[in-house]
Amino acid sequence: MTDTASAFGDDQLTRDLIEVIAKEGMVDLNGVGPETTLESLNIASVDFMMILAAIEEKFQVYVPMDENLSQVKDVGGLIAVFKEHIQKSQQA
């Protein structure tokens, strides 16, 4: 987990997000970096729904299936979209 987290940044929010993605997507994120594609991790649309529901529950933020999210291809992009929504809701 430490190696993975440092590839994305070491802050707590990043660590939490990585944990949710690994758990709900049922993937081992060890050695995975920001440019690893979701497809190569075999994260399918149903796993995506589980990840979104968990993010909603953990961070009390609604992440809509909008244009930004549907264009995400890799793990770094996914984390960036989540962070944007979480930070926006914390500021609100």
Binding site: A44, S45, V46, M49, A53, P64, M65, D66
Partner: protein
């Protein structure tokens, strides 16, 4: 037996626009949305509360001489559309319709209202469950009850393939009549899933728009659910002519595929192949198609995927073929969508008028089609395609022709 021509002789519908095919058509042609604030029996922590609900909550009154107490709403909806279609086909006085008439219904989930109510009664209020829960809730209840009313003793079943259900029901019924397995079929699409649990489950899928359904448009952000029913009486042309029936349209071809790739994400190849198969089944080239009633849900992915699939079918002609989604008008009626949209397509063929895709803001480069934005259009044509693509990856497309 030489394959027979298959014609449509009767239509019936119940939608958010009201009772009857004409209520549906005038809303579709005029671009009037039937999306409204929903009325729900109880609360399921629903954040989204708009849909194309059928707000006529006493459908029992249409059947005063029947024991309607154990009919789920989806069955009543199927019965009401069937009644109009059988009458329209001139068959109301020809009962029983007998062993050569099939009843084939498409529904995504069937009696969800009964299932929810029974579960709540048992789990929360310790009430005795309805003793007739099984015949009320079984997914084939609508088909059996319609068959019982009209004395149809031929092959009867329900097709369930989510949003492709009644497109597949119409397709398989068409093939059965064409091949001589039946002379006639009452084909119905019915869905009554605007329930607290149904709305919540779809909310959790994150495909519902919180505001407006804008197919193929920039700024689209999801679909709006609908409910209702559509019924078509189809029969072998020589038999329809022999009894002097009015022919309203022709079922020309049917194609269906399964992506077998992803439960939720649509696939260009599967959608395109369904359309190609429908045209091949009809013995037509894509040049013959003058209108497409699209699946057009207004989710980001469906509309761009469907546009790309249409591009594979029409090639250079893509921008010249009018394509519209009438879903913002009658809602996404899930399993009923194939039948309801086939009816809209037949009315469009009859009138020589293409219904609009309403709520359109501006073109999305990912959807380079002529989507008949906001205002319908006079346009005479002979052949249309109507598409239904489902979660689970099942796709269906029907080629429908003008009566004469």
């Amino acid at each position: 037996m030489t394959p027979r021509n298959v014609v449509v002789t009767g239509l019936g519908a119940l939608t958010t626009a009201g009772q009857g095919v004409e209520a549906l058509w005038s809303a579709a042609a005029g671009g009037v949305s039937g999306v409204k604030k929903v009325v729900l029996d109880y609360d399921c922590a629903n954040n989204l509360r708009i849909a194309a609900q059928v707000q006529d909550f006493a459908l029992e009154r249409f059947f005063p001489n029947m024991k309607t107490a154990f009919f789920d709403r989806v069955t009543l909806m199927a019965m009401l559309a069937a009644e109009e279609a059988v009458k329209d086909a001139g068959l109301a006085d020809a009962l029983p319709l007998g062993a050569r008439t099939s009843v084939i219904v498409g529904t995504g989930i069937g009696s969800i209202g009964t299932i929810e109510e029974t579960s709540r009664n048992m789990a929360m209020s310790q009430k005795r469950p309805d003793p007739l829960t099984v015949p009320r809730a079984m997914i084939s209840a609508s088909a059996s009850n319609v068959g019982l009313i009209y004395g149809c003793t031929g092959t009867t079943f329900v097709v369930s393939s989510a949003c492709a259900s009644s497109a597949q029901a119409l397709g398989i019924a068409f093939h059965m009549v064409r091949a001589g397995m039946a002379d006639r079929a009452i084909v119905i699409g019915a869905e009554a899933s605007i329930t607290p649990g149904g709305m919540k489950a779809w909310e959790m899928m994150r495909v519902l728009s919180p505001q407006l359904c804008r197919p193929f448009s920039r700024g689209r952000n999801g679909l709006l659910l609908g409910e209702g029913s559509g019924a078509l009486v189809i029969e072998a042309e020589e038999l329809a002519k022999a009894r002097g029936a009015r022919i309203r349209g022709r079922i020309l071809g049917y194609g269906t595929t399964s992506d077998a790739k992803d439960m939720l994400k649509p696939d260009v190849a599967g959608a395109a192949e369904a359309m190609a198969l429908a045209l091949a089944d009809a013995g037509l080239s894509s040049d013959a198609v003058g209108y497409v009633n699209a699946h057009g849900t207004a989710t980001i992915l469906n509309d761009s995927t469907e546009s790309e699939a249409l591009g594979r079918i029409f090639g250079d002609r893509l921008a010249a073929v009018p394509v519209s989604s009438t879903k913002p008008i009658h809602g996404h009626t899930l399993g009923a969508a194939g039948a309801i949209e086939a009816i809209v397509t037949i009315r469009a063929l009859e009138e020589g008028f293409v219904p609009p895709t309403i709520n359109f803001l501006e073109a999305d480069p990912a959807c380079p089609i002529d989507c008949v934005a906001n205002v319908g259009r006079d346009h005479a044509f002979d052949v249309a395609l109507t598409n239904s693509f489902a979660f689970g990856g099942i796709n269906a497309s029907l080629a429908i022709g003008r009566a004469a």
